[in-house]
């Protein structure tokens, strides 16, 4: 009997520790293969595998239909993946404040930065807005490109164009300074 068969799942749910170990061991390569295919091999994928296994371990008793283990494990993996994307910026924000440059070189980080988000975003095309939002949802450019069936470079070009449009909309004064500043 395979470790993922419903009878095996029932035994694991009923406290058979060996069966539970077998089940988790059988899930591990599936999850590893899945996460690697989505975010690549590396520590992040390893962490996601472990977190998903913990989620399955903790929630196994609540699984009402043992025949739906696949759906159960899939949702656990998808939830973990979304948590991972969401956490991308949490981790980064601990390194630097996204509201200002890392060193706030000009000391302007807190000045005049209240934005009319809707007005600013309305200057973007739906496609550009989609990319900006996907980025802020935590997706890397390569995955955004894959999702939108284009190339990473095309996505980055869109981001640059969005930046240009928003810059024009928000800080017209910068353009005047730009024209007189030396090249860097």
């Amino acid at each position: 009997m395979h470790a993922l068969d419903p009878q095996a799942v029932v035994r694991a749910q009923q406290g058979d520790e060996a069966e539970r170990e077998r089940l988790l061991a059988a899930l591990e390569p599936i999850l590893r293969s899945f996460f690697r295919s989505r975010i690549g091999a590396g520590p992040d994928a390893d962490d996601l595998v472990q977190n998903t296994l913990i989620r399955v371990h903790r929630g196994l008793e609540a699984l009402q239909n043992p025949a739906r283990l696949k759906a159960f494990a899939m949702k656990a993996a998808l939830f973990e993946l979304q948590d991972f994307y969401r956490g991308r910026y949490s981790a980064r924000e601990s390194l630097y404040d996204p509201d200002r440059p890392p060193s706030d070189p000009a000391g302007v980080g807190s000045a005049g930065l209240r934005l009319d988000l809707e007005r600013a975003m309305s200057t973007l095309t739906p496609h550009a807005r989609r990319i900006v939002e996907l980025r802020e949802l935590g997706f890397p450019y390569a995955e955004i490109a894959e999702t939108l069936e284009t190339t990473e470079a095309a996505v980055k070009m869109q981001v640059k164009r969005a930046f240009e449009r928003l810059r024009d909309a928000l800080v017209a004064i910068v353009l005047a300074i730009l024209a007189t500043s030396p090249s860097v």
Binding site: G42, A77, P98, D104, L137, F139, K156, M157
Partner: protein, 387 residues
């Protein structure tokens, strides 16, 4: 300056060295720093709004899976039903979330694939799975299959033709310790140890370090197209038997035959020096070529036909141009009409590299995507990019 502004938008995907450079530029230029602050403020505001509109991302997963009756349990379906109205309006407001739903559905397919692959009862199938390397585990050496769509580059492209004598080869062979030799029997790709990559034409011989400084390689024979990871403070150096090519950017090609090294640069910057005088390099601008014959100094850079020099790659290289010029170049390359709407004619597009095999329409779709435009088919024959 405008390049710095361009780079600001992609700050969080830059290398540490690129960030340091940009940080320095911001210290020197308050306008740059302020633009960056405002951009980040806007990004943070987008994040706050997304988090406010959809505090629980797991709902997005349930939403993406709801079409399959077997995937959600009763409790999850009830959660989704309760949130359905609000979720509908949130998705309407945020095209990014709609795309994220699409991504989750693709994730689901990937999971299904992983599951079915690993739970097959067929032993042979399982064995195949076990020995099939993942994308990341793949060996560095692989045969190149043409990419399915046009590829865009904002990096350095150069073409280097190298010709060398037997005595020089003997001399170099004495210095081969610590280098691995790759001999290309067919067109293939090779991942360099520093994360860069190179495409090798049949007959190319490349030596790469297996220890020590990974920002170097030796091209001993044949054609190659390098795609070099950019590290501002650590240029990549390609040694040929009679010359050195210092890469100050990222993508470039190499061709080796007998006693001459020729560099043709598509975009970006490279420096070429003879081994006889490494301190006297010439710097090439995009679209130029230079060569080193034996141990003579490099020739003065002159204009080059980049596409002719890089034709062996099967790709079409176009330097940063406005759309009107690019349309004309594509029209010539594919021998058909390519028109651009007047309002798009002046739009600048960064250095591009199109795969000829993918065809003109694929290239045009890529261009249109980057411009928020669309491609229409002209009556008779030809295409038009229009808003």
């Amino acid at each position: 300056m405008s390049q710095s502004f361009d780079t600001l938008a992609l700050y969080d995907s830059l290398t540490p060295n690129e960030r340091v450079e940009l940080d320095r530029a911001m210290e020197e230029n308050p306008a740059l720093a302020e633009a960056f602050s405002r951009w980040n403020s806007l990004r943070a505001a987008v994040r706050r709004e997304l988090a406010s509109d959809l505090p629980d991302r797991s709902l997005l997963v349930l939403y993406a899976l709801q079409d399959d009756a077997d995937l959600l349990d009763d409790r999850e379906r009830a959660r989704l039903d309760a949130a359905q109205n609000n979720l509908g309006s949130v998705l309407e407001r945020h095209p990014g979330l709609v795309a994220a739903v699409r991504r989750i559905r693709a994730d689901r397919e990937a999971f299904e694939h992983a599951w079915s692959t690993h739970t097959q009862t067929n032993g042979q199938a399982r064995a195949e799975v076990a020995t099939q390397p993942s994308k990341q585990d793949r060996p560095a050496l692989r045969v190149v299959h043409r990419r399915s769509s046009a590829r865009w580059i904002w990096r350095i492209a150069a073409m280097i033709t190298i010709v060398l004598g037997a005595t020089l080869l003997v001399h170099l062979a004495m210095r081969d310790a610590g280098f691995e030799t790759i001999r290309a029997a067919d067109l293939m790709a090779y991942d360099l140890p520093d994360g860069s990559s190179v495409e090798l034409a049949a007959g190319a011989v490349l030596m790469v370090p297996d220890e020590g400084n990974f920002r170097q390689a030796r091209l001993m024979a044949g054609n190659a197209l390098f795609d070099i990871q950019r590290v501002e403070t650590n240029p990549f150096v390609i040694e040929t038997p009679n010359a050195s090519v210092t890469v100050l950017g990222t993508t470039f090609g190499v061709d080796v035959t007998d006693i001459e090294t020729e560099v043709v640069l598509a975009s970006g910057i490279v420096e070429l020096a003879s081994h006889a005088d490494r301190d006297a390099p010439v710097r090439l601008e995009p679209g130029q070529r230079s060569s080193v014959l034996s141990l003579d100094p490099p020739s003065q850079p002159v204009s080059a036909d980049v596409n002719a020099a890089l034709g062996w790659t099967g790709d079409l290289f176009i330097r940063a141009e406005n759309m009107a010029v690019i349309a004309a170049q594509l029209s010539d390359a594919f021998n058909t009409t390519v028109e651009v709407a007047p309002e798009l004619a002046g739009e600048m597009v960064s250095g591009t590299r199109f795969e000829r095999e993918a065809g003109l329409e694929s290239a045009l779709q890529e261009l249109a995507m980057s411009l928020d435009a669309r491609v229409t088919v002209l009556e008779g024959s030809g295409f038009r990019i229009t808003l």
